[in-house]
């Protein structure tokens, strides 16, 4: 009989975690507790949790600095979908259009004197995530990220 057996286990539904923040720098402190809670529930090791927390902070800080440069009120919404093998993250805000991936990668070999400080955040996103994208839709910026969780990569 050719019908597929149960070898392809039904795909488990991801666990979804959500966080909404005011678009204020001080509010980014809440990211730490959010990522800690996800890490505990999902059993991520400290390295994975730190990388996800770092990427979220960098993108949130950028979104606030560039999307809300005039200091007006706004919100960031983060949706994290966790599965045992992967994490998908969406960050959405209602700020001015800003594509963080349009920033040039920094020269990380540059000397102290000439070292600029911008661009590092997005460099971390490119280093720690496996996929990233940006879209502008209905007056919102939306960044999508995904990270594979495999023993080989994160041991």
């Amino acid at each position: 009989m050719n019908a597929p057996k149960e070898s392809a286990a039904p795909r488990r539904r991801p666990t979804v975690y959500r966080l909404e923040l005011p678009a204020k720098l001080e509010a980014t402190e809440a990211l730490a507790d959010f990522v800690d809670a996800c890490a505990q529930a999902q059993g991520w090791d400290g390295g994975v949790a730190m990388k996800i927390g770092l990427v979220l902070e960098e993108l949130a800080v950028n979104a606030i600095a560039y999307g809300f440069a005039d200091g007006r009120e706004g919100h960031l919404r983060i949706v994290l979908e966790a599965e045992p093998e992967a994490v998908d993250i969406a960050i959405e805000d209602d700020g001015d259009p800003f594509d963080p991936f349009s920033i040039d990668a920094p020269d990380v070999a540059e000397a102290l004197e000439s070292r600029p400080v911008g661009g590092l955040g997005v460099h971390f996103v490119r280093s720690f995530m496996d996929a990233w994208s940006y879209a502008r839709r209905d007056g919102h910026n939306r960044i999508s990220l995904s990270k594979r969780l495999t023993a080989a990569r994160d041991a």
Binding site: L25, E26, T28, E29, A32, G46, G47, M50, K51, G53, L54, E57, E58, V61, P106, D107, V108, A109, E110, A111, L112, E113, R115, V117, L120, G121, H123, F124, S127
Partner: protein, 108 residues
């Protein structure tokens, strides 16, 4: 949440950091660092053994302090970085900009 304590040993100011150096705590750390330099400290040794997180806002503080101290023949030295913190320094290229040792004692 970041705890910062300092102790003078010989010519070095030992800065013990504990917790997270993020976009919020980095601002306060920078203010303190600039005060140390203003009062004449030239040799900072920052002990990272109890730091479990640093973002680019945190890295930036050490760059600012290092540039200021370079101008007066001083330096910022680091020690005790945990592996995941060390990785952030490596990926950003910041490990090339600072002396990094295992412990404070390495600088005596």
């Amino acid at each position: 949440m970041l705890l910062v304590s300092t102790a003078k040993r010989e010519t070095l100011l030992i800065v013990t950091l504990e917790g997270r150096i993020d976009a919020v705590s980095a601002k306060d750390l920078e203010r303190q660092g600039l005060q140390w330099i203003e009062r004449g400290e030239k040799q900072l040794v920052c002990d990272f053994a109890a730091v479990n997180y640093i973002s680019s806002a945190g890295l930036r503080v050490f760059l600012v302090l290092a540039k200021k101290l370079r101008a007066v023949q001083g330096a910022v030295r680091l020690c005790g970085l945990r592996p995941e913190i060390r990785e952030v320094f490596e990926i950003s290229g910041f490990s090339q900009l600072f002396a990094i040792a295992d412990t404070v004692e390495a600088y005596f």
